[in-house]
């Protein structure tokens, strides 16, 4: 089946970012993943993060390996250049692309098979080199595209759809990244957009390798009762360790003006705050005067 072009629906009430673009401008082709796939939520969060980050769409390079996760680079930012590399070896392509052009925004989408088995070495060395990119590992504990084999992130005792238990120790991508000295490490859940979006926004601003492990359930092969990567299991065992928000690093705004004068100051988000300084001899204890000046 060929991919489906998604109609671009614009509405005058759609909010615009600093570039005058709406979220629609950050969308891609129609997803061909299963309905309810965690990866589609990750895609939606990425679209939101790029839009909020005021990133010029054509200045984005999207890279991926092979697998369900790696298909998703086609589902956001149509105007960005995408490349599907070979299985597990997207980090090398990202390294080379970065070497050739250091001015673009690089986002790599990978899965647990792509990153923790066939591409484990490549992931480790991309961390070691601190390649400047946002690296998203869509982690569902299973090989979806080949129909349900365990991946290297499957927990001991977690069962396959057919009831077979996994006996081997999982590789924890976050512990791995930390032990390798990664400069930005986070874990989130595809079902928690409020947390995911600011993490992506922060990752996009990181001037190094931003590694984000996203638990992203596979509705078709790993969402059953004995799975430890199902929606239900994830929600039951979900611990939000911090309330996450993204506050971009900006310069402090200072102003100085005389008592009794007015001054309008532009904020970093484009809004303006009007200040009016009280006169030197203003009586702060005069209630009636305060009411009069309130407006």
């Amino acid at each position: 089946m060929t991919s489906i072009t998604k109609p671009k629906v614009q509405h005058p009430s759609n909010r615009k970012n600093a570039l005058g673009l709406t979220r629609r401008d950050y969308e891609g082709s129609m997803s061909t993943l299963c309905a309810g796939c965690g990866h589609d939520s990750v895609t939606a969060a990425l679209i939101e993060a790029f839009w909020r980050g005021d990133v010029e769409p054509y200045r984005v390079a999207k890279l991926s390996g092979i697998g369900c996760s790696s298909k998703t680079t086609a589902y956001f930012i149509n105007e960005g250049h995408g490349i599907n590399a070979v299985h597990g070896r997207m980090p090398a392509v990202a390294t080379g692309a970065n070497a050739a052009n250091r001015a673009l925004h690089y986002v790599g989408i990978s899965g647990d098979g792509d990153s923790l088995s066939i591409g484990l070495g490549q992931l480790c060395h991309a961390i070691r080199r601190n390649v400047r990119m946002l690296y998203v590992l869509e982690n569902n504990g299973v090989y979806g595209l080949t129909k349900g084999q365990f991946s290297a992130s499957a927990d001991v005792g977690s069962k396959s759809k057919r009831g077979e238990p996994n006996l081997q120790q999982p590789i924890d991508p976050v512990l791995l990244a930390l032990s390798l000295g990664a400069t930005f490490v986070a874990r989130s859940f595809s079902g928690d957009k409020a947390q995911l979006v600011p993490i992506f926004e922060a990752g996009l601003k990181h001037s190094g390798f931003a590694f984000i492990d996203v638990i992203s359930p596979c509705v078709t092969f790993n969402d059953h009762e004995a799975s430890t990567k199902s929606y239900l299991y994830t929600r039951q065992h979900y611990h939000e360790i911090a309330s996450v928000d993204f506050v971009p690093l900006t310069r402090e705004i200072k102003t100085d003006y005389a008592p009794g004068e007015r001054r309008s100051v532009q904020m970093h988000d484009g809004s303006t705050v009007h200040f009016r300084k009280l006169e030197k001899d203003y009586d702060t204890r005069n209630r009636a005067l305060a009411m009069q000046r309130g407006g």
Binding site: H81, A92, V93, A99, A100
Partner: protein, 599 residues
């Protein structure tokens, strides 16, 4: 036949003892005397303690192929006495360390023996094991200088250049040279009949190895991204590229580096990095050897199908598997020609010397970008790591890189819609765009099935349309790779076909055969896919003899496959023991095929 300015010397030592610098000194001194010379290092895959040899051929006519047996053997390694002494020609000379007696059983009565007590001399003159070991090499160099009449002024000049900042080393080297020189003069009739006489035949020539020359070619071609994983015999290529970049590619004002070199975790990654950079528009390359090519296969297929330029340099060594990493061979031809799964075919360029490594490295980048495909510069250990005498490298300042069809922002802004794999020219090349240049230029690069518009497809007709166009495109690259070198002779009906570093031995062999009344035509393949002139050469000869350095006759197979010539028309001479081809092997091989010299 040997005599003044025409002889061979072989030196047998133990590796890790510092003999390489003494051998290099000898070879370069001869070169500076204006006499054509070549030095070949036959070394082990080891750092210290195993046998290693160095072969020097001096030839006033400029023949520089390997030539055995040897006129003179300097046997410094007692462990290899038997085999070393057996390699001396009848009437030749053996130089050995007479500090210890030479077993009588090892002696031949058809050679002259020159004993010099190198061991005793260094024990007496120097202190410390390391210094004695190192200086012993310089002592034999001094003895050789007396025996074959190397100009001592030249040697002094070279030592002065080398140790100008290390006075103590200069003194000990002078002392060691003198020890060997004086002892030989005093005890033997110097010089021997095989000796040197100054000539003026190395003017406008340089000594350079192929890896250095190829690295220089990459620099001149404008390569900015290099990725590699260390492997013998290719490592020195990237090390040289790095040195050149540090010298020429750092902005003098800002200190900014205008290049990016990545030592990758393996060859898979090195290939990926080169391809990622090629996708982004940089001229990128990765040097490797056979085992690396094996690992790169998957990525090569991606670059072929997604049409991404990158240059791969294969400095071939003896395979299969780890094989003999420090020996030469031409055995990766078939594995490169069709590298990766699925239907593929890749352009190759075959340099025969460091000079051609330089020029063909530049050409490889042009072919890669013009045809948007991985291109292979296929050299070997003999060319890559040995110093060859080459004409001074010439550079045409009017050279401009051929970047192929790349649409810029201005062109894209005028287009209504852009489709990546839509070609309107007979050569099958479709214009590409680079990421981040213009919104309209974006597309999705994929190794999965795609149609000419760049979209995903599993439709038979759409799929075939694209792969058929790629086949047509690669076929056209035959016009862009270097044309063959051809030498035709009146009356010849049989042609010899060869490639790469076989050139010297084949040309000399054909000259010798002609002196004996056997005249053959000559063609050296310099590129793949084969140019029309290769097809014509084969068609115009009754029979062709393919001379190459691999067991299975890979060039012959490729020629039969591509030209459709009946296999019985293609004779084969194959030398694959890991040493550079020698002239005798060519002469004997050809006479063997022809059944002797025709009456």
């Amino acid at each position: 036949m040997s005599g003044v300015n025409d002889f061979t010397v072989k030196i047998g030592t133990v590796n890790g003892t510092g003999s390489a610098s003494a051998n290099g000194l000898l070879m370069q001194a001869i070169f500076r005397m204006g006499i054509p010379v070549v030095g070949k290092n036959v070394f082990p895959s080891n750092i210290q303690g195993l046998p290693t040899w160095y072969e020097i051929r001096v030839n006033k006519d400029g023949y520089t192929a390997r030539s055995a047996p040897f006129d003179l053997f300097v046997a410094m390694n007692t462990g290899t006495y038997s085999r070393d002494i057996a390699e001396i020609r009848e009437g030749g000379w053996l130089v050995y360390d007479s500090s210890w007696p030479l077993p009588k059983s090892r002696l031949r009565d058809d050679i002259s023996v020159i004993g010099i007590p190198f061991g005793d001399q260094v024990v007496e003159a120097f202190s410390g094991d390391r210094e004695r070991t190192l200086m012993k090499n310089i002592v034999y160099a001094g003895a050789l200088a007396a025996l074959i009449d190397i100009d001592m002024d030249v040697i002094h000049e070279m030592l002065n250049e080398k140790f100008s900042r290390k006075k103590h080393l200069l003194e000990s080297n002078f002392k060691a040279i003198r020890l060997g020189y004086d002892y030989a003069k005093e005890h033997y009739d110097c010089p021997l009949p095989i000796r040197l006489e100054r000539l003026d035949k190395t003017r406008d020539h340089i000594l350079i190895d192929g890896n250095t020359a190829a690295a220089l070619g990459c620099l001149y071609a404008g390569a900015t991204v290099g990725a590699w994983y260390p492997i013998t015999p290719a490592s020195s290529l990237m090390e040289n590229f790095k040195a050149f970049c540090e010298q020429y590619r750092v902005d003098k004002k800002t200190g900014e580096k205008n290049y990016f070199i990545v030592q990758a975790e393996d060859e898979l990654a090195a290939a990926g990095i080169a391809i990622g950079a090629g996708w982004m528009g940089a001229r990128s390359f990765t040097p490797t050897a056979g085992p690396g090519i094996s690992l790169m296969n998957e990525f090569i297929g991606l670059a072929y199908y997604a049409e991404i330029p990158a240059v791969f340099i294969d400095v071939q060594r003896t395979g299969p598997s780890t094989g003999m990493p420090t020996r030469t061979q031409q055995s990766d031809l078939l594995s490169i020609a069709f590298a990766s799964h699925g239907d593929t075919k890749h352009p190759m360029l075959f340099p025969s010397s460091p000079e051609e490594c330089f020029h063909m490295a530049v050409a490889a980048f042009d072919v890669a970008e013009q045809y948007q495909t991985p291109v292979f510069l296929v050299t070997d250990l003999d060319i890559g790591m040995n110093d060859w005498m080459c004409p001074r490298l010439k550079w045409d300042d009017s050279y401009r890189p051929n970047r192929g069809k790349v649409l810029g922002a201005e062109e894209l802004s005028k287009m209504e819609k852009y489709f990546r794999y839509l070609s309107t020219t007979p050569d099958g090349v479709a214009a590409r765009t680079l990421p981040g240049v213009h919104p309209r230029g974006s597309y999705f690069t994929r190794g999965s099935g795609h149609n000419k518009l760049g979209g995903y497809t599993e439709d038979s007709a759409e799929y075939q349309e694209v792969v058929d166009r790629i086949a047509r495109k690669i076929m056209h690259a035959a016009d862009a790779v270097p044309a063959p070198e051809i030498a035709l002779h009146e009356g010849a009906t049989i042609g010899v076909i060869t490639l790469g570093g076989c050139r010297g031995a084949v040309l000399e062999g054909l000259d010798r055969l002609r002196e004996r009344g056997v005249t053959l035509d000559y063609l050296r393949v310099r590129g793949f896919p084969f140019a029309a002139s290769v097809h014509e050469f084969i068609a115009e000869h009754e029979k062709c003899i393919v001379i190459e350095q691999n067991r299975d006759g890979q060039l012959r197979s490729l020629l039969i496959l591509e030209t459709g010539v009946p296999s019985e028309k293609m004779e084969s001479i194959r030398e694959y023991g890991g040493l550079p081809l020698s002239t005798d092997q060519v002469v004997d091989g050809v006479l063997g095929v022809l059944g002797g010299v025709p009456a």
